[in-house]
């Protein structure tokens, strides 16, 4: 086993301190009693209490959650379909355009995506609100889903699908029984990615939303522009805690899953 040189230890320590200290400070100071966010005045959870009574924030959180669940579900369905047609669909009319449209949104600046979608919604006279945010989020996150799923589709053994087709399965049955279970982890990962992208999006929502719908990032944005506030610190800490729990659970689960597969493979190798 190789030991880390002092230089490497220092770069890891500094690097991770840089990544985590700002968030740590935020979490610690969310428990600050003082309204002045940079002066410590004793431990208190009052900002959390005030946050829970702030209806505007709770409403915005609810809107955000609804948008994220619906748009990431649509995005997963559309993105998986797109990935499947790109990897397995063979040639069809306009394939290059299609793959271009899948990859372009990944690198498109958010201001341009937001602007163009707003112009479309206004052009067709659509009321702006939750629906337009869902449509916008579905569109850009389906591309991320499609990239995640297609990398999985490309890496798995195609002969498994062919065997099912040879044995008389319809393409749909083969997809349901063979392909879908194999790409399932990527589909789940794609859904999670789409979900977080939607939760996180400020710029596009700012463009396409109307007065009827305010998402949590929009709400945070409008109060953050006025400076640091202890309530936002509390809200940020809650979000950081939720994400950390989610990511750590997911990575532990995937570790256990891969350990189980390894064990099963070992057992299978022994029996043959």
């Amino acid at each position: 086993m190789n030991r880390l040189s002092p230089f490497n230890v220092v770069s890891l320590t500094l690097g991770f301190a840089f990544l985590y200290l700002p968030m740590l400070i935020l979490v610690i100071y969310s428990f600050n009693k003082s309204k002045l966010v940079t002066v410590w005045a004793g431990f208190s959870t009052k900002w959390y209490g005030e946050l829970l009574q702030n209806e505007a924030f709770l409403d915005a959180a609810w809107v955000t959650l609804k948008v994220a669940v619906v748009s990431s579900t649509f995005a997963t369905i559309l993105g998986t379909m797109a990935a499947y047609t790109l990897v397995r669909g063979g040639r069809f009319f306009g394939r290059t355009l299609f793959s271009g449209m899948i990859y372009a949104p990944l690198v498109m600046p958010e201001v341009i995506t937001g602007l163009s979608l707003l112009l479309l919604f206004i052009g067709i006279g659509m009321d702006r609100g939750v629906v337009t945010i869902v449509l916008a989020h579905t569109t850009f996150s389906m591309c991320f889903v499609s990239v995640v799923v297609s990398s999985r589709l490309m890496s798995f053994d195609r002969s498994l699908e062919e065997a099912a087709l040879d044995l008389g399965a319809t393409p749909f049955t083969a997809f349901r029984l063979i392909t879908l279970p194999i790409i399932a982890p990527a589909v789940v990962a794609g859904w999670l990615l789409a979900f977080t992208l939607s939760l996180d999006d400020l710029v596009i929502a700012q463009f396409v939303s109307g007065p009827a719908a305010t998402t949590l990032p929009m709400k945070i944005w409008s109060s953050v522009r006025l400076g640091v506030s202890p309530e936002i610190n509390a809200l940020s800490s809650i979000l950081i805690a939720l994400v950390s729990i989610g990511v750590i659970t997911a990575s532990l689960a995937s570790k256990r899953h891969s350990l189980r597969i390894k064990r099963e493979e070992l057992a299978a190798a022994r029996t043959t």
């Binding site: 966010v37 379909m81 201001v111 940020s236 994400v243 570790k255």
Partner: protein
């Protein structure tokens, strides 16, 4: 039949919600600004011929006459480029150390790099306001250890924008470089050292060239989004920092000049096309090398 359905649903979705809006941005960038809702004069109602004869590049010439715009483009490119170099300087040593770490640590280290990516971007940028402000934590700390006697002004300067970009995008730099370094065969470095290279020479002559693709990929992954960045310059840069994403946003929401905002967007895209194509080429080369 099923196949046609499978292809056409995502295809039409993207046509309607990606390509058509895009065409509209182009169209509106070529139309006149009027005081109405929507605040632009339509250019397509009277058929193609009328459209072609009436096209006007007024908005684009306007962009060249008002020096706010080209200054904003230049300053965006400069800020994005400097931040990319800084991100590389911060990210490379971390990626290098991760690739050198004992194998059982690597998955955990990876997770620690990815975790901030899942937390809200807005919050991560916001966290720096409290650190960088005049009475913020950094000044308190430097004051406490006696390094400064007067608070530094960092918030609302380009420095704060650099820090913000490096902080939020460093995972995009670390991951591809780590992927390249992890595959690097350690015996190559040993061979170089056996043949008389110093450690530094071996690093410069073997490690850096072999991680070149990771470096290039990381740089593009930082540079491309940083160029159109809006949140970071708005929160940390103050009014003194010009970036084109911010100009576009303000042109649209404050001035309500849609044609000019669209023209700004079109030119931003034209600027982005070059790095995007270079990035794709690098990825393709990488994919071919892997096979």
């Amino acid at each position: 039949m099923r196949r046609a359905l499978l292809i056409s649903v995502p295809y039409f979705w993207l046509l309607v919600l990606f390509l058509v809006p895009f065409a509209m941005v182009f169209k509106i960038s070529l139309s006149d600004s009027v005081l109405a809702i929507p605040p632009y004069a339509p250019t397509m109602k009277e058929g193609i011929w009328a459209l072609l004869t009436q096209l006007d590049f007024e908005n684009f010439t306007f962009l060249t006459t008002d020096d706010l715009y080209w200054k904003a483009y230049l300053s965006s490119v400069r800020i994005a480029a400097i931040s990319t170099v800084l991100t590389l300087a911060v990210g490379y040593p971390v990626a290098y150390a991760m690739a050198r770490a004992p194998e059982e640590w690597r998955a955990t280290l990876m997770m620690l790099v990815i975790l901030p990516f899942w937390t809200s971007f807005l919050i991560r940028v916001y966290a720096w306001i409290g650190i960088l402000s005049t009475e913020g934590f950094l000044n308190q700390f430097l004051f406490g250890i006696g390094l400064i006697s007067e608070p530094l002004t960092i918030l609302n300067t380009p420095t704060a924008v650099y820090i913000g970009i490096v902080y939020t995008y460093v995972p995009f730099m670390i991951l591809p470089i780590y992927a390249a370094l992890e595959r690097l065969d350690g015996s190559l470095i040993e061979a170089a050292e056996d043949l008389g290279c110093s450690r530094l020479q071996a690093f410069w002559l073997v490690t850096i060239p072999l991680s070149k693709n990771g470096i290039i990929a990381g740089c593009f992954l930082v540079f491309i989004p940083a160029l159109g960045e809006f949140v970071i310059p708005s929160l940390l840069g103050g009014s003194s920092t010009l970036m084109i994403g911010k100009v576009l946003f303000e042109e649209f929401f404050s001035n309500r000049d849609w044609p000019v905002a669209s023209a700004v967007a079109v030119i931003l895209l034209l600027i982005l096309i070059v790095p995007i194509i270079l990035f794709q080429r690098n990825e393709q080369k990488q994919a071919e090398a892997d096979q």
